[in-house]
Symmetry: D2
Subunit: 364 residues, 4 copies
Amino acid sequence: MSGNTFGTLFTVTTFGESHGPAIGCVIDGCPPGMDLSEADIQPELDRRKPGTSRHVTQRQEPDTVEILSGVYQGKTTGTPIALLIRNQDQRSKDYGNITETFRPGHADFTYWSKYGIRDPRGGGRSSARLTAPVVGAAAIAKKWLKQKFGTEFKGGMSQLGEIAIPFQAWEHAAENPFFAPTADAALITQLENYMDDLRKDGDSIGAKIDVVATNVPVGLGEPIYDKLDADIAFAMMGINAVKGVEIGAGFQSVAQRGSVHGDEITPQGFVGNNAGGILGGISTGQDITVSIAIKPTSSIRTPRQSIDKDGKPVMVETFGRHDPCVGIRATPIAEAMLALVLMDHALRHRAQCGDVVSPDFFAR
Amino acid sequence: MSGNTFGTLFTVTTFGESHGPAIGCVIDGCPPGMDLSEADIQPELDRRKPGTSRHVTQRQEPDTVEILSGVYQGKTTGTPIALLIRNQDQRSKDYGNITETFRPGHADFTYWSKYGIRDPRGGGRSSARLTAPVVGAAAIAKKWLKQKFGTEFKGGMSQLGEIAIPFQAWEHAAENPFFAPTADAALITQLENYMDDLRKDGDSIGAKIDVVATNVPVGLGEPIYDKLDADIAFAMMGINAVKGVEIGAGFQSVAQRGSVHGDEITPQGFVGNNAGGILGGISTGQDITVSIAIKPTSSIRTPRQSIDKDGKPVMVETFGRHDPCVGIRATPIAEAMLALVLMDHALRHRAQCGDVVSPDFFAR
Amino acid sequence: MSGNTFGTLFTVTTFGESHGPAIGCVIDGCPPGMDLSEADIQPELDRRKPGTSRHVTQRQEPDTVEILSGVYQGKTTGTPIALLIRNQDQRSKDYGNITETFRPGHADFTYWSKYGIRDPRGGGRSSARLTAPVVGAAAIAKKWLKQKFGTEFKGGMSQLGEIAIPFQAWEHAAENPFFAPTADAALITQLENYMDDLRKDGDSIGAKIDVVATNVPVGLGEPIYDKLDADIAFAMMGINAVKGVEIGAGFQSVAQRGSVHGDEITPQGFVGNNAGGILGGISTGQDITVSIAIKPTSSIRTPRQSIDKDGKPVMVETFGRHDPCVGIRATPIAEAMLALVLMDHALRHRAQCGDVVSPDFFAR
Amino acid sequence: MSGNTFGTLFTVTTFGESHGPAIGCVIDGCPPGMDLSEADIQPELDRRKPGTSRHVTQRQEPDTVEILSGVYQGKTTGTPIALLIRNQDQRSKDYGNITETFRPGHADFTYWSKYGIRDPRGGGRSSARLTAPVVGAAAIAKKWLKQKFGTEFKGGMSQLGEIAIPFQAWEHAAENPFFAPTADAALITQLENYMDDLRKDGDSIGAKIDVVATNVPVGLGEPIYDKLDADIAFAMMGINAVKGVEIGAGFQSVAQRGSVHGDEITPQGFVGNNAGGILGGISTGQDITVSIAIKPTSSIRTPRQSIDKDGKPVMVETFGRHDPCVGIRATPIAEAMLALVLMDHALRHRAQCGDVVSPDFFAR
């Protein structure tokens, strides 16, 4: 209830601070009998870990995951699965005036106002580092959904600052440091130069990320409040730095006519997907398509005006290891959140309606 | 858990179908001792009720609310407040082939796929009519928040189809049928003509709605999953026909630099509000600003291809009383959802941190 | 979260006060496609309603239930089922000093202390009348469990004051006003005389009630906190006037040796049932056996010392229509609570583990 | 929802198996700003740890707790507090036929039936070892309740098998290996001889434990389902081996008359405490008194008949380190559960009603 548990039936309760002894999570509700080991989880953590290119933070964290419970002889037992990731890069550095001042764009002021105390080391609990345990948990959800329904998750960057990244194919997202779903080498170079310039300027930039789930069973989502799209919006807006969420046609729907937007249906299936795979809060069986807006990193080397705990004006300038575009590493995180939402709704669905049997309705 | 309860500490559990005997809700967790009667609730219901202009559905529903419990001698007692709204306009008409076919853009296919059964009368549970009980519940939340913190809610339409509606002042939203926050008579005429043309075409259109909460206490929001912005996104995306949600700068953040986006702080307060009043998932005390994209009404008089329950192709054409732009009546609904989120978080905050005492930090 | 919702997946949210306009509940999570009408619910309400013998309160309430939603053409749709029971016997009598004084043994002092306000009419929210909606909701659960697993619920009184009621057969519970599972006419006469004497004395008495569920599937219960027995204890202790709960051997376990208590297992099944059908918090497939202690009615005609809102001493004497033994009408309520717990756990079980397929393990 | 989280606002999510790498928990919702270190928690763990006398299991576990998060510079920050206890005594012994057979009285059969798989090492998740993390979490709750209200928790054994232990004073519970609240040396000797004889017989025995909370604020408890007594019953019945729970007069209420049971009130306070400190599900401000029945340990050296996974009859005999009376170590666990319930309800109360200000009502 204090906000550190995600999900209702497949729950992920995380703990930890950026520079504390460890981060991790407890996953409850995992169906029993599924093969599981650290080898299923580590690759997902590696996709989002820092230090993999010059365009992201140079913090070195192996993010090695240990399964503490819930698995016996290589299979899930139905009991809680605890994941532990020790923080290795706890630099006992001087945090300087960060502990006394509120960095613009950061959660410093709000945590301090809410709790009367905050852990300033590396952003404490509000650090994007805390997305690691969820990515780990989502690896378990992804595996189950894949085995059960064939569901898969893909994602990539569709815009970096002012630069649009036309979609070519999801597999290209793994071929460049930006998760850009394109094989256009010139465009990749443009993105790299853009980032290099930005770093020189000591500034940062936003990004737009798209994620998609394929082979989604029909019928997931609990109207009228825990709609599938509502829970996706909740999951996405909860990711650090996200300021906007779209499902399907998103904000383009505003200027669309009903005769254009409403996806017609034929015996072979839906004709379009303006709905983004969700109608009335329930999955249609089409691809679920989501876009998110990620704000520019708040930690920049450009001096900015702020105040300290006594309300006195100060100038704040951030040094050290920071992603100049937090959007770059956001793709695996957004995929993870989408997977957790679908996993949770798959279990919720069968609680009320019994096991999902996708109607082989359309002549696909 | 089956999705018909909104909130965690101030909960609203709704029931009812568009053409059943009644709709209503049970509100649990309301603080005791607050003056309350139907007169506090009815005006909010009247703001969103149908039949108030030629641009919205002509269904005639007085939407008269009855308080069944939780109030004694004009004061809340801390026990559940049940609201009942009898459906008066239950036309026992022939629903015709609607019961056997899936209307494009509607929840017909998904409800039927999920539950194996659906109530087709007026959209059943998926009807926008079900926003009435929440608007009623939110009237209670609004009253408490106003008394406790001075918090107020405002909203209006910022775009109708392709037509942008430049903001002038919130009070104008009550002066025209579109909730347009403008006194520009020519623009209102343009909107009216636009809607008239649309009706003649038998088509519908989308809209963009903005809502704002003012005098919000600092410190509301539960990181790291039940962030205030995450819960707002959940609430908004759960409204019928919403396809996109933005907080603060929203999708504009994508092309912003950190040196532009991050709101600087001075001893007098924040310099800007790209954050939309929320940092790290916790309210900053600034205005909370939200925008939503609403898709065009799916029920249109233009024939569209679809299928029936046997998978056979059919043409679907909707007659009767439908909003050609569901966005027109969405403003009070969006305000209501925002109020419910803030109410819930106000109670959650004081559970953990004690009563909210907004630091008189800034020299406002 | 404010305590007026029972259950997690099959939830019952109740509302109403003893003398308000209506009481009722919203049931969420009911599986779709089950035949349901008021005729399934009314008989259960009739079993617990007042005025059926001279040994219970003479309040006349038909307790007629109306289904407001969630049923279409005689079948559940998977959407919330709202039940409404109008209070007919709202005597606008003078409640006299009850409104200013705290009756011993009642919730008057605690409600007033907690909320700073209380509805004194007939006990307000704390009245046993509020068990009616749950009994109605449980009728739905019972029907589903019966159809799905053959599960049935039985119960009766095993002790009235000092008088033990030896068990003969459950069906006898329907044959006398005490729900006594005996055909011993002399014993029934003894109970009647006992009650008559008590009424003459203006006093009241406690009772012990036993309930049993048969044909329970194996595997229900969520360790290690939401154990089946823990949830049963929660449900039972939450019934008005209950002061003790036992599962299986209950307090007799204290003096039992392990070699006696632990139920041995053979290829034909368990040899005994000291466990009461639950091991490690999970159902074994045996009968679930529960006993509860019900305190004597607090409202008695004997004058008792108490205080008023100003802390001044007063004498309190209760007149009017009260059950001299609330335990007499408790059997259908205890059955109802047990049914709600099993229903909820049946849905929870299949969420995580898939549909229950009771292993045909034993050669029964 | 899968049952491994205790509480609603002050939540404890546990993980781990008896012989896995580690056990632990995540505590969410702790108020910020409280001094906290391992030194506050370790003493409570030491009270319940095994190996402290010859009358309990000789398993040697230091149960050393590590705080992984939620504390900064010695103070709670309001973020999740993770506790980790590494299992040191993981004997990689041959579990022999335990893995293939179902021990009578244990959860072996039910876990296997529910999940289709079970971790047989030391009872896996169903081991009483899993009470350690909760005891750790409760140490935090106890500290907060003590500071905030002066609330304290005491407990002890009131019956061992057939031997009643008359209460003298709580402090004596710390002076003997049975948590017996008596200074009667002859009685202690009798208990020791009783246990020695039992061990020689290879048998086990039940016990009755009483716990009490003092200085409880008035007004805790959420009617009408999340009553304080209902949640206490839930908490207590969820402890391993508990088969019965009583509040106040408990099962003695059955034979009590209303004129005896109902506690009268005077300007100086309540005259008696048959209510056990709770009326209408809400605390009265009196001591909360609870009794629980604990069944005899199921693991005994006496051979017992059972079956294996193939349904074949087998004889089961347990060797090794087991408590011959699990009740002996139950006192700190029962105190812990009571503390967690009160902590949770303290936060729930102030969510709805604001900070608890116990009315200085009585002239105490």
